[in-house]
């Protein structure tokens, strides 16, 4: 059964690249939803059931860590795997994401293979 995915990033370019990467995997991907920040992402989740979230950390309005925290506190969505994808090199933030329940972490710049590997290991 096809799985819907939510991509959360303030960069339209990154959202477009991740859409392409997801379509190139052999995973049964259904609809791919997009959000530009954590606020939009929570709104999107309230209207759509997704099986995977790919999220940036540093975004305006609500960053990826606050979004992750709110998602994990929500009984309906707490089991959805979230992979963080970011240029952030601050290990404290990465560890915070892991402690909040992130399923994985990929650093930008990334190759298609790195994303595919991470997805295969998690989904």
């Amino acid at each position: 059964m096809a799985m819907d995915v939510l991509i959360v990033d303030d960069s339209a370019a990154i959202r477009k690249i991740l859409q392409r990467v997801l379509r190139q995997t052999e995973m049964p991907i259904g609809n791919i939803h997009e959000a530009g920040d954590g606020v939009e992402a929570l709104d999107m989740l309230s209207k759509n059931k997704v099986g995977l979230v790919l999220s940036d950390i540093n975004m305006p309005n609500m960053d990826g860590l606050e979004f992750l925290s709110k998602l994990k506190a929500d009984a309906e969505h707490k089991d959805v795997p979230v992979i963080m994808i970011t240029t952030e090199g601050n290990q404290n933030k990465v560890m915070e994401a892991v402690n909040l329940g992130a399923a994985g972490y990929v650093r930008k710049p990334f190759t298609t293979e790195q994303i595919k590997e991470k997805l295969t290991g998690i989904v």
């Binding site: 303030d10 960069s11 339209a12 370019a13 990154i14 477009k16 690249i17 392409r20 540093n58 975004m59 305006p60 970011t86 240029t87 952030e88 090199g89 601050n90 930008k108 710049p109 990334f110 190759t111």
Partner: protein, 182 residues
């Protein structure tokens, strides 16, 4: 304080190494292209770029600065075409998005190098300018590091200006209150 700042200041060689590493990593990983340094020098403030596709992003923390990335419209189209696996013969919104993201990733990676020396920094949202026969000006009194790369035989330039931030608003633990958007 002045002595501490002088000790922290990266050397020109370090800046060149960090910019080169960051630029190379992004071009190789995201585009499968090589970016080789052709020249690097220091320029005084004043008249800046006058044509091409230009990505601009600000850095702020205990140190502050601006980074400018530029290339020809032809190279910008190649970058957009490779990044999105679509053919772009002219500079479209998608091509400008691609240059903005390249700016974000190159300077985002450079920021990680700089933070090890200069403390936590944040990046602004990148802006992109495209056109010809326009005027830009680098204000202030700080010198700019200019690094030119050759990518597929075309020029790709990264400019960087950095200075201690005398006005950093400190939080209770002494860390500047900043927000990163990279």
């Amino acid at each position: 304080m002045a002595t501490e700042t002088a000790t922290l200041a990266p050397t020109r060689e370090e800046i060149v190494t960090w910019v080169t590493d960051s630029t190379n990593e992004v071009f190789q990983t995201m585009l499968g292209m090589e970016a080789s340094v052709t020249e690097h020098y220091v320029e005084e403030p004043g008249a800046g770029l006058t044509m091409g596709v230009i990505g601009i992003i600000g850095l702020v923390g205990e140190w502050t600065g601006t980074a400018v990335v530029s290339c020809s419209s032809d190279l910008a189209c190649k970058i957009g075409s490779t990044l999105f696996m679509s053919e772009y013969a002219s500079v479209t919104d998608e091509v400008l998005d691609a240059v903005a993201e390249m700016t974000n990733m190159i300077i985002g990676n450079l920021k990680n190098h700089l933070e090890n020396r200069l403390g936590q920094m944040g990046l602004s949202i990148p802006a992109v300018v495209f056109g010809r026969n326009f005027a830009t000006r680098r204000s202030g009194k700080e010198s700019w590091y200019v690094m030119n790369f050759s990518v597929n035989g075309e020029k790709f330039e990264v400019q960087l200006c950095l200075a201690p931030n005398q006005n950093a608003a400190l939080s209770g633990n002494g860390i500047p209150r900043i927000m990163t958007l990279a």
